[in-house]
Structure formats: structure tokens, C-alpha cells
Symmetry: C3
Subunit: 142 residues, 3 copies
């Protein structure tokens, strides 16, 4: 077994921006030749999250609304009262959705379902650049 | 360290069906002789999830109600409006609960608490067969 | 690659007690000399959870309120009706927040953001001692 750690970088819009990371993750697996093992994904920073979903506009919109119900904007956050950041809702959403996701890899492929994609969720209140740690672990053919 | 990937298959009913996977996972650990390491569990498909709970009917019922509050049936989902699947609530629940769970193994045993079981959650809107990827990683005695 | 499993022990107060584990986890990484790999954290028991957050009193208070909304005290739980434990809310919160968290380690450091800490959440309804499994995996310099 071996470990190879990469970073995926992308531009995000904030406010529940949800982006499909599957092509970038699959490209790293193919490029490194990971055959059997897993990919651990992690978002540094306290206002992002990772999960999987069928990445089509309907389900993505439904998820955004559910997250808005979990930690609504505009209900008043102690974080904002203390620091004036205005992104208290983002901190709560990130803590609930969590920054890590791990997907097994078998025979060189992510074991995702056909209609299941890996997504980054950016909860912050402004556009930013995000770096996602993408750690491949297992047996490599090169 | 080594990696051995298996699949656990079971029949599910949908609509927050929650099933205890602990015996099957423990049997794989024992059968393979995993001594130290971990088990990564992953549900392929965008309408399932994994977590742990005290698997008794009261707590299981309470969790089902909490999930119903998170993403109620009958509030209207964009996924359903677009695709007519009728399982928009299942997609949202799966994205929130997430498809992966990892449990350490030490001295040949899952490090679960006494009253803590590994459970699969099936959020879909019909019975189906589920396959859960069960990847053992670590040192094996055989 | 190698695996080294430790336990972090601490006293918790229950009722959404949230404690920063980052110093203990970082100390284990430094003490063992883990260079590249990851740390898998896991809370045995069905009334605890793990996540990350900016560990300042505002955001922590905001998260506690969001968890109270997810599974309020005082709405009646089947677990309590059946067993009289009075901690049905804790079981539901733990199942939703989940007992596992994994953070990559690169060049000897946790890949956390600057304002991101690893936290234990204790949802139970009384003070207790908690043991958290902390499994280091990867390449070590000693």
C-alpha cells in the first residue's frame, strides 16, 4: 500500500454553491494508476463540506433548500455578533455537513452508483478559491 | 498493510428502512482475519446512507422521525418536478446523511460501543436490493 | 504504510458539550512521527459525534442551537418511553452527526484550515468520561 496526496483547486461562489468534483477525482485515480484502495477527500477551512448526490439541477436545488432549513440565513448568529463576519450560517452548515468523504476504489474505479457524484459544498458568503485535499491510498500500477 | 474489498448484499424496503449491518461486517472481519486497521463502508447509489445507532426499536423510530423532519415527504421537490421519480426526499436525505462510514478495528474487533450498531439507511421510495462496499484495510493474520 | 492506534480520554458534560481535540490529535501525530497519511477518529458509544468547526464561542453556540433544532429536547422520544433513559434526543443527534472523522496528514501536519478545529460533541444527558479512538495510518519517521 502507498499514499499519494494531491490538491484539487476550484473557484466557488459561496451561498450553497455545489460543484461536481467527480471528473477531477477520477482523473487523479487514472493518472496515478490507483487500482485498489480509496480516495479520502477533505476540505480545509470551516465553511465547506463534501457529500454525494445525483448531480442534476433538481436534486441540487432541493439539497440547497434543505440546508437553508437546517441553518437559515437571517436568524441571527452569535458568530456574527462577535466577529461581524456575516457567515455564521456557513460555519453551522459546514459543521453539520462535515469536511471529509471517503470513496472506495476497486479495479481502478470509484465505487459510486451510476447516478451518484462527489460534490463540494461551499457555504461561505462570498466567492473564493477552494483547495480540496485528495489523498489516494492503496495499490498502484505505476 | 493490505486491502480486501467485499460486498454485502441485502433486501431493503425504502422509506427510511434502517437495518443493522454489524453482524455481516463482523463476520467479514473474522473471516478475513483483520487484526488492526479499519473497515470502510460505502453505499453506491444516491438514496442510501450509513451511520451508527443503538439498534433498538425506540431509537430507530426516533431517528426516522428526525429524518422526516429534515426532508419531509410531500413538500414538493424539484427533482420530482423534473424527472417524475417521486423520490426527491430520498436524494436530499442521502446527501445529508452521506454514503460513507469508517470504523477502526483493534485486536480483531470493531471499536464500537456496547450499545452501538452499524446501520444502513435506505431512503428510496420502493423496495430494492442494496450492495454495500465493505473494504477491510490493515494487517491480517491469514 | 503502518497503523498505530491510540485512545484520547477526556471528561465531558453532556447536553451538546463541544470540546476541541486538535491539540491532543496533533500531539499524537508529532509523538509518533506520522509524516504522510491520515488520522481516523471514532467515538465509541451511541451518544457522541465528531466534526470540525472554528472553535470560538460564537460559532460553537450557533452549532449547539442548530443541533437543538435538529432533535429538540422535550418533544417525546420512543427510546425514552421504552427504556426511561431520558436521552432519546442524544441518540438521534449522534446518529445524524456520526461517530467518525478522518483528516489527512501531509508533511507531518493535519491539513486543517487555519481557523478549523477537530471537535468532539457529547450529546448525552449527564457528565461522563469519553474515550476517542485515534488511529494514525501512513508513513512514520520513527
Amino acid at each position: 500500500m502507498d499514499i499519494r496526496t494531491h490538491t484539487i483547486t476550484l473557484e466557488t461562489e459561496g451561498f450553497n454553491d455545489i460543484q461536481d468534483l467527480t471528473p477531477q477525482v477520477a482523473a487523479l485515480i487514472g493518472g496515478e494508476g490507483l487500482v485498489d484502495g480509496s480516495v479520502l477527500l477533505f476540505v480545509p477551512g470551516a465553511t465547506g463540506g463534501l457529500t454525494t448526490i445525483e448531480f442534476e439541477s433538481g436534486a441540487v436545488s432541493d439539497l440547497k433548500q434543505a440546508i437553508e432549513r437546517l441553518a437559515p440565513q437571517g436568524i441571527g448568529y452569535a458568530h456574527d455578533a462577535r466577529w461581524g463576519d456575516g457567515n455564521g450560517f456557513a460555519h453551522v452548515r459546514a459543521a453539520l455537513l462535515q469536511p471529509d468523504l471517503e470513496v472506495p476504489v476497486a479495479a481502478g474505479r470509484l465505487t459510486l452508483g451510476t447516478w451518484q457524484q462527489i460534490v463540494l459544498l461551499d457555504f461561505d458568503n462570498h466567492p473564493r478559491q477552494r483547495s480540496i485535499v485528495c489523498q489516494l491510498r492503496g495499490t498502484f500500477d505505476v
